[in-house]
């Protein structure tokens, strides 16, 4: 060992310190509440590959919970106790976290990623522990069990965009030809599954399905193939960075402006505009919430808390999504308390009398109304269609409801 002695001792001390402090911190997590609190669990991808979405979403949930507890005095006077963990976008960790939330007697849980929810769903379903996912995928809510989706999923995005395109943009005769460019995971393939089910009856011909990875740096080759088939519209279901590459490559190949480009909600955020620059002008997209600065009731409080606690997140659409999510959690708890009383609260009661009693709850106008209809575990089913105009994402339609798509999953 050829390090000098003091350095070696310092390193050993550092290592022991780190190893000792972590369990102490972990055990310091358990705090004894003095009064009845309503426990909810959040499984957030704060670090890891999905941190770019996970962190603002986590910030939003916690800020809103702070707002509910401090300014509104909790739900019906009872404070909400939040137990949250960082699942690092890893399925095994998500599974241990949901087990922890169950053992800590949380009443419900949420995650913000469909992959994390898939890892937690089976365990939650077996334990009848209700939860909902902000971003969902059709397999989670079909067949409907104890997992709900806060917002329409990627298949619904496609259906809504296709509808809008046929009614407002398509001006030729016959059936328009659509090419799809999909991210190689559920985000992309969710759109494809919806297209497979609905395209024929809507009157759209799918001429090409191409795939890309999150880390692609050039899609010229796949776009060349697409160009040869002369499509009228290109639908991209992906995340912002690969979408920006595809849009830029389409401009280089001369395909765009020319065809119409539509995006799913996972990629249609300000990041896309930042990365693609002027090339993104005129690109359509769907998104299930309003934009920052719109005149809706919840905007003022949300902006205030965002600027105060997490000013870096201002302008990030994911923040809006999760502020709304926390409001929905509070509403579910409120409905459950009203129906069964705070002493009879169990996860099953919260599901039966909270989730299932949601009826046109207005999340301060941040996204479409939240309702539960039997057989359909999506809580909010509407999106809006946007377009990039002058470098800004501007809404060009009202709330469009996405129909329930008859998937078949086992």
């Amino acid at each position: 060992m050829n390090l000098k002695s003091p350095l070696k001792i310092a390193m050993a001390l550092c290592l022991t310190l780190a190893l000792v402090v972590i369990p102490l911190l972990g055990s310091g997590c358990a705090s004894v509440p003095e009064e009845t609190t309503l426990k909810v669990g959040f499984s957030i991808c704060y670090t890891g590959p999905a941190a770019e979405k996970g962190r603002p979403m986590g910030d939003a949930k916690l800020d809103c919970m702070k707002y509910i507890n401090e300014e509104l005095g909790g739900v019906n006077g009872y404070p909400i106790e939040v137990i949250w963990r960082d699942n690092e976008y890893d399925a095994a960790k998500a599974a241990t976290i949901v087990n922890e939330l169950i053992s800590k007697l949380c009443l419900l849980f949420t995650t913000n990623s469909s992959k994390m929810m898939q890892a937690s769903a089976e365990i939650a379903n077996r334990n009848e522990f209700p939860g909902f996912a902000v971003f969902s995928t059709p397999a989670l809510t079909n067949p409907p069990r104890h997992i709900y989706a806060q917002m329409p999923d990627y298949g619904d995005d496609w259906a809504a965009f296709a509808n809008y395109y046929l009614e407002n943009i398509w001006q030729g005769t016959g059936t328009p030809k659509m090419a799809m460019h999909l991210l190689n995971n559920t985000t992309g393939y969710g759109a494809r599954d919806a297209a497979m089910v609905l395209a024929d009856e809507m009157g759209i011909e799918i001429v090409a399905i191409e795939e890309h990875t999150t880390t692609t740096i050039s899609e010229i080759e796949s776009l060349t193939r697409i160009r040869a088939l002369n499509p009228d519209v290109l639908y991209i279901s992906s995340t912002p960075q690969p979408t920006s590459i595809i849009v830029k490559n389409a401009v280089e190949l001369g395909m765009y402006p020319g065809i119409t480009i539509g995006c799913g909600h996972a990629s249609f955020t300000k990041v896309l505009v930042d990365l693609a620059g002027a090339d993104a002008e005129g690109v359509y997209g769907v998104f299930p919430t309003v934009s920052w600065g719109d005149d809706v009731p919840a905007m003022a409080k949300m902006t205030e808390y965002c600027q105060q606690y997490h000013p870096d997140d201002y302008g990030n659409m994911d923040y809006i999504t999760c502020w709304a999510e926390a409001l929905i959690v509070a509403e579910i708890l409120r409905l459950a308390i009203e129906n069964v009383g705070v002493d009879n609260l169990t996860p099953q009661a919260v599901e039966e009398y909270g989730f299932k009693k949601l009826d046109n709850f207005d999340v301060g106008g941040l996204h479409g109304p939240v309702s539960y209809t039997p057989g359909d575990n999506r809580l909010s089913k509407s999106v809006r269609v946007f377009e990039v105009q002058d470098g800004e994402i501007t809404p060009i339609s009202g709330w469009v409801e996405a129909p329930l798509i008859p998937y078949e999953f086992d």
């Binding site: 390090l3 770019e52 880390t215 692609t216 740096i217 050039s218 193939r225 990365l275």
Partner: protein, 294 residues
């Protein structure tokens, strides 16, 4: 047929970008025998530092680039001195795992210092794509290709004619002999790491000007592995030639095979090539064949 030209040009230029990263890997392997698994994260770190210099601090381009190069040199020295020097005689697996720990650390540090997870570098190259025949290629790729070739020529000349370069090659061959000649081997390791970090920095700047700075830069580092294997782990010429070959294979293979098989087959082609190379020419096209004697 027009597509063929487009595929070829795209493939070659994208492949040159992979070559850039592969050069950094080969450099470290050639001089110290360590497989640098943290290469992707280093590329990410230097891209972010460039962003910090150019956008956040707002320095002019020439100053920003010089600062990045200086930072790369310093970081390479620190990594070698504090992380790799203590592990000199240890089995190769420990070294590889330590670079893994380093990779996690750098990833965390990047999230720590720059919480925005995606950013775009200011435009370094003109926007209009260049027309070659019926094919188009954006200027960024062309510049990346040109710079790769330049770097390769510089590196080859350096290793051939410069005294320190020759010493580095000697160290790769036989460390004890070099030590017996009175040259401190540890200094050679420092130098090779510093150079490798500079290469990673240049590669990072070029790649992030193409696609923006995201965590995907790490995965692009993985593609460089296939380049390195095809070309030979210890050959610069191999890295430069194998890069376009892999890029071409991806482009042509993806272009013509995708309608026949599955979409996305383009991603697998480099790895299939690796397996084939393993069977046919295990040490790569230009790698040095290891002859073992009992």
């Amino acid at each position: 047929m027009a597509e063929l030209l487009q595929f070829v040009i795209t493939g070659v230029t994208v492949g040159m970008v992979y070559s850039l990263i592969a050069l950094g890997f080969v450099l470290v392997w050639k001089s110290s025998g360590v497989a640098n698994l943290a290469l992707g994260q280093l590329v990410l770190l230097f891209s972010w530092f460039t962003f910090a210099m150019l956008v956040q601090v707002g320095s002019p381009i020439w100053l920003g680039f010089s600062l990045v190069i200086l930072f790369a040199l310093a970081l390479g020295w620190i990594i070698e001195r504090f992380i790799l020097r203590p592990l000199i005689a240890q089995p190769i697996l420990s070294l590889i795992t330590v670079t893994l720990g380093l990779a996690y650390f750098i990833q965390g540090a990047v999230s720590f210092i720059w919480p925005k997870s995606v950013a775009a570098l200011p435009d370094l190259f003109p926007e209009e794509p260049v027309q070659i025949g019926t094919a188009v290629v954006s200027q960024e790729y062309l510049w990346a290709a040109v710079i790769s070739i330049l770097l390769f020529i510089l590196l080859s000349l350096y290793f051939r004619y410069n005294k320190t370069g020759v010493v580095m090659r000697a160290t790769a061959d036989d460390q004890m002999a070099v030590q017996a000649c009175g040259i401190p081997v540890t200094r050679i390791f420092s130098l090779s790491w510093m150079l490798a970090c500079v290469l990673a920095a240049i590669g990072g700047i070029l790649i992030s000007s193409i696609g923006g700075i995201t965590f995907g830069l790490v995965e692009t580092g993985l593609k460089a592995f296939s380049v390195v294997i095809l070309g030979g782990l210890d050959s610069f010429l191999g890295a430069i030639i194998a890069g376009p070959i892999i890029g071409l294979a991806e482009s042509l293979g993806g272009g013509y095979l995708t309608p026949l098989t599955w979409p996305g087959i383009r991603e697998i082609i480099p790895f299939i090539i690796i397996i084939i190379v393993m069977f046919v020419k295990p040490y790569g096209l230009f790698g040095e064949e290891r002859i073992e004697r009992i």
